[in-house]
């Protein structure tokens, strides 16, 4: 077929009608869009390049169709549908539109065959996803959303700078593998890589994810957990497969994420760290770069989309009904929402890599790829992360969210009930896919870029996995048992908050994250605010500064006078602009300018 409908464009254009429809028609229409996109994906011919346009002499390719892009398109379309079902109860056009724009632009990025098209969709993703965070309407949503948006604009500019360097040298926008000695040299290579890694949330560029995702709207988080990082993996596969630095970065990511999940109290923040950790697997696999590893990376992206989506939906359901997202205020609610618990546990088993669940297959492929390449450390550390994943999601999170007896959970217990049916249906669909991929891995393999006849269900592999899961559970139980009955892993935090006066502790700030936060704080708050203050009236600000300085160095007799003067100056700051319209200073500048020109011209 030469004619092709772009699944991403279907979603982007499809949003136009949403505000004009009502009731059931609107709901069915919103579910229809991802299905149409799915059909369009189905009717795509692999190996073709379509929708090629000329833009100011640049060749733009909107449709690079091959096995890799089709696989991601399937996963994205299905997840958009599930996310649509999950948010069906919601009456907020703007969120629906933002969600579809976000999904559509991710698909656009997936099918983009050149760097400029990629950049276009990259930016739409940033803006539309930022809206989903604003729509969270939690206390910090707006601020977190602003930080998120600015970080992504900055990341986009790194990408753009790289693209510009690349284009200026090669006069081509072709988006294929990059090498440090390709067009634009190492500068372009690393600039583009940084742009991609920021979206993949590689520490220390990951602070935006754990900062913003927990603040997103309940339904929006499902989309957030799906698209940005997975699109980043897709472009990494396209552009940087085999770049060895990615192995190291990937391993750091997996462990970094896991360590945070163990001490995290906010359930969605915990899951956000899991995104970082799981994406680490994929980044490492891209770094390994063999066909099998790339398959593993894509496979893990696909399975991850569904189990992470399922976990976010489950956590979202709990937040939706109870109104809290802190583990210290939850627990014991399994009796009130058993269906949610069962579905959530499917996701937890899948992410932990239980045999017969999807995570088992895809994780085995990545660790197997490292194994085949004789990478001992990589194999070991990725396995360690697998242990940590089961520990923190399968055991810790599930236990604290649903099972733990907790005297601080009255409010949650009181409010807890099953979420609306559409939420349960959406979760059930994701759960079915998690199990399907586990039981019938061929379904998953058919979406991968390279054909494979891998069999994850060899006996030694199954027993090894079961051993890991079993002994992790054992260790968890022992640590649990050694503490007093209430003191579970997070009970230590209880001790902490009792000591310090009743506040819950949930914020975590590691050396790495600290740097990230520091950068974010300085770059996005301190510097601009300082500059904003200063620029309101540079002269006045300078005067205040000078007076403060002389206050610090002067004797006591002048202090009173200086203090009152500073106070007065601060009170009138920034003051009236009309008072300091310096014609005189401009004239001086003109004179200086002329003199400088003449001097330079003649000397």
């Amino acid at each position: 077929m030469t004619e092709w409908a772009h699944p991403g464009v279907i979603m982007l254009v499809g949003t136009i009608l949403i505000p004009f429809l009502k009731g059931g028609v609107k709901k069915s229409y919103m579910l229809l869009i991802p299905l149409v996109a799915l059909a369009a994906t189905y009717y795509s011919t692999p190996g073709t390049t379509v929708w090629v346009y000329d833009y100011m002499g640049l060749k733009l390719v909107f449709g690079r169709i091959d096995a890799l892009s089709i696989g991601f398109s399937y996963a994205f379309c299905i997840m958009t549908f599930i996310g649509g079902v999950y948010s069906l109860h919601l009456d907020d056009d703007r969120q629906h539109i933002a969600g579809l724009l976000y999904a559509g632009s991710s698909l656009g990025a997936v099918f983009a065959g050149d760097l400029l098209t990629l950049f276009l969709f990259w930016e739409i993703m940033a803006f539309s996803s930022a809206y989903l965070i604003f729509a969270g309407k939690f206390k910090n949503s707006t601020k977190a959303g602003t930080r998120y948006l600015l970080v992504h604009i900055a990341g986009g500019l790194f990408l753009l700078a790289g693209i510009l360097m690349y284009y200026a040298e090669s006069h081509s926008l072709a988006f294929n593998g990059f090498t440090p000695d390709g067009p634009g040299g190492a500068t372009a290579f690393y600039l583009i890589l940084i742009g991609f890694l920021l979206n993949a949330a590689v520490p220390p560029l990951s602070a935006w994810l754990s900062d913003a995702y927990p603040e997103g709207s309940i339904t929006g988080s499902v989309f957030l957990a799906t698209f940005t990082t997975k699109t980043a993996i897709y472009v990494l596969i396209r552009g940087f497969s085999g770049a060895e630095i990615l192995i190291v970065l990937g391993i750091i990511m997996t462990l970094y994420g896991i360590l945070y999940t163990i001490i995290e109290n906010d359930c969605r923040r915990l899951l956000s760290y899991h995104i970082i950790s799981q994406v680490g697997y994929m980044v490492a696999a891209v770094g390994i770069g063999t066909e099998f590893a790339i398959n593993g990376s894509a496979a893990h992206a696909f399975t991850n989309i569904f189990f992470k989506g399922l976990l976010f939906m489950g956590a979202g359901a709990v937040i939706y009904v109870t109104g809290t997202r802190k583990l210290t205020e939850l627990g014991g609610i399994y009796k009130k929402m058993p269906k949610t618990v069962v579905l959530f546990m499917v996701g937890a088993f899948a992410i932990s890599g239980f045999p017969l669940f999807s995570g088992f297959v895809s994780k085995a492929m990545i660790i197997g790829a490292a194994h085949y390449e004789h990478m001992a450390w990589t194999t070991m550390l990725l396995s360690l992360t697998a242990v940590g994943t089961f520990l923190s999601v399968g055991l810790k999170l599930a236990y604290h969210l649903f099972f733990r007896p907790n005297e601080h959970n009255e409010l949650a217990m009181h409010k807890a009930k099953e979420p609306p049916t559409n939420m349960l249906v959406a979760m059930a669909m994701a759960a079915v896919i998690c199990i399907l991929f586990g039981v019938y891995p061929k379904a998953l393999f058919s979406m991968l870029p390279f054909p494979t006849d891998y069999n994850p269900y060899t006996m030694d592999h199954v027993t090894a996995s079961l051993l890991m899961l079993g002994f992790t559970a054992l260790a968890f139980y022992i640590v649990l048992g050694k503490l007093n009955p209430h003191k579970t892993l997070s009970i230590d935090t209880d001790w902490f908050y009792r000591k310090t006066g009743g506040m819950f502790i949930y914020f975590i700030n590691s050396p790495l994250l600290k740097i990230g936060d520091l950068i974010a704080g300085v770059v996005f708050t301190a510097v601009p605010n300082g500059l904003i203050y200063f620029m309101r009236n540079p002269l006045g600000a300078f005067k205040i500064g000078a007076d403060t300085f002389s206050l610090a160095i002067s004797g006591s007799d002048r202090r009173v006078k200086l203090r009152s003067r500073i106070k007065r100056e601060k009170a009138i700051y920034p003051g009236d602009n009309i008072k300091h319209w310096p014609i005189g200073s401009t004239v001086v500048w003109v004179a200086v300018f002329l003199l400088a020109c003449l001097l330079i011209y003649f000397v």
């Binding site: 959303g145 500068t187 601009p528 602009n577 004239v587 500048w589």
Partner: protein, 508 residues
């Protein structure tokens, strides 16, 4: 060209002068016909600018088809007589200016009625049309002294327009501008005088022929320095920008929009014109290191303009400082002086005129409806004036350089031009200013869409008026917003013209 009345009347031949004469005549008529009814002035202005726009378009097409058009004033042959020349380069700028003036006039009816005292409206339109005639004259003239005359016409009518602002501070702003503008004009005329002394001609083409022999003469170099400084003051290149923020802030909304869209752009155009068509690329690149100085100055302007814009609480002032930064883009492209960068610079004249004109129109609509100019007070405006604010958002995106908006095209050409010229270190300047632009526009967008209503907005709620601005304002604003996207998506047309103009300027 033969002498005789036929030549003068022949439509195609006299289009260059008609472009100026029609607004000029309308300016004279405006105070008279406005006695019939107060809105007649507006109809007159709209018609005049519309005709000027059509004429400029036809000129542009003539130029594209048949090359440079020349018109001899009073049929006196140059270099003695004054010559009007329309080439690729100024034909493009002329069409842009005429178009924007027309749209802003169309937009301004209600705004003028509200902001200008009724008895002053006739004179307002008179000064307004004079201003437009002046800027078009600057663009079209081929005579350097005539250029100075038009600069003064523009400036003088500009002082009057600014002083009509509602705020008393408008008088002060106008007075400041008067003094600084006069200083700038004085430098300009001094420089022109030196050139005349050195060469004995005022015709630009003639100057271009005669100057190269005496490039090393002190007089010529001094003349160039004077002209540069005068123009930099006029186009508000940082740190000679001090008159601009107050002018944009306190003048009537429509005047802010018109000036932001046209006046500094035209001055930047004059700078390019004098640098490359009175003097030659060899002169500015090799004889005196003016492009190097200009690159540094432009970078400082880009960064400082954006930086100061961050600190503003008044939206008009924020846009004004943003303009100061954007002027830097135009001069930067000119200073890099490669064809790609120059294309970026020229296309940015169009693009920035579109964006900034439109943004000031949005602010004008907000002022018309609510009187709000403080960013903090704009909270919740997104719900009250959805269309106007949608236009603002598009303008903001475009300013940031979102792909496939006009702002992106300019930046793309400037950046690739800079890298192509081996000045890759300019790319961070462009990108850093983009993120600062994102930052200060974001503050407005956040306030408009993501905050609750401000107390100020709630007190303004009136049951008799719809919340959105009047139809005429919204439609024209949205039209420009649409163009910001249209020329971003289908950029080839303007880019092609700008490319040819750049090639023309660089003499290749």
């Amino acid at each position: 060209m033969s002498f005789g009345p036929t030549t003068f009347i022949s439509a195609a031949g006299s289009t260059p002068v008609l472009v100026i004469v029609i607004p000029l005549l309308a300016a004279m008529l405006a105070p008279i016909v406005s006695r019939i009814h107060r809105s007649v002035g507006w109809y007159l202005a709209t018609t005049a600018t519309f005709i000027a726009f059509l004429l400029s378009l036809s000129l542009l097409y003539t130029v594209i088809d048949g090359g440079t058009v020349s018109y001899r004033m009073g049929s006196w042959a140059p270099p003695m007589g004054i010559e009007y020349v329309v080439s690729y380069f100024n034909g493009f700028v002329l069409a842009v200016i005429a178009f924007i003036s027309f749209i802003i006039t169309l937009y301004g009816k209600k705004s003028v009625e509200q902001e200008i005292p009724e008895q002053k409206i006739p004179f307002f339109y008179s000064a307004y049309l004079l201003f437009i005639a002046g800027i078009m004259g600057i663009v079209i003239t081929g005579d350097i002294f005539n250029l100075y005359v038009f600069v003064e016409i523009t400036a003088l009518s500009g002082y009057a327009l600014i002083a009509m602002g509602k705020d008393r501070k408008a008088l002060m702003a106008s007075y400041n501008y008067l003094i600084l503008g006069t200083i700038g004009a004085t430098f300009l005329v001094l420089g022109i005088g030196y050139l005349y002394i050195a060469t004995g001609t005022l015709n630009m083409n003639d100057l271009m022929q005669r100057l190269p022999e005496i490039y090393d003469s002190t007089t010529v170099i001094t003349a160039f320095a004077f002209i540069m400084v005068g123009l930099c003051l006029k186009l508000a290149l940082f740190p000679l920008h001090i008159w601009l923020p107050n002018v944009y802030t306190y003048s009537p909304s429509i005047v802010s929009a018109l000036m932001a869209a046209t006046s500094t752009k035209v001055m930047a155009f004059v700078l390019l014109r004098i640098m490359f068509t009175v003097f030659t690329p060899e002169f500015v690149l090799e004889v005196v290191p003016v492009t190097k100085i200009l690159i540094v100055m432009s970078c400082v302007a880009i960064i400082m303009g954006s930086l100061i814009a961050l600190g503003q609480t008044n939206i008009k002032r924020m846009l004004a400082y943003s303009s100061i930064g954007q002027i830097g883009y135009i001069t930067l492209g000119a200073a890099i002086a490669t064809e790609t960068a120059m294309t970026g610079s020229l296309i940015h004249i169009l693009n920035h005129a579109l964006m900034k004109g439109m943004l000031f129109m949005v602010v004008g609509a907000v002022v018309y409806k609510t009187g709000i100019v403080n960013i903090k007070d704009m909270e919740g405006l997104g719900k009250r004036m959805p269309w106007t604010m949608a236009a603002f958002t598009i303008g903001a995106m475009s300013m940031i350089g979102f792909p496939f908006t006009v702002g992106f095209i300019s930046k793309w050409y400037l950046a690739t031009g800079a890298i192509g010229a081996g000045m890759w270190y300019l790319v961070p300047v462009l990108l850093v200013s983009s993120i600062m632009t994102a930052f200060y526009f974001w503050r407005v967008v956040e306030s408009v869409y993501f905050k609750g209503r401000s107390a100020r907005i709630d007190t303004l709620k009136s049951p008799h008026h719809s919340d959105e601005a009047p139809f005429g304002m919204v439609v024209t604003t949205l039209f420009l917003a649409g163009l910001c996207i249209y020329f971003g998506l289908w950029a080839s047309g303007p880019v092609e013209v700008a490319k040819n103009a750049a090639a023309f300027l660089l003499g290749s």
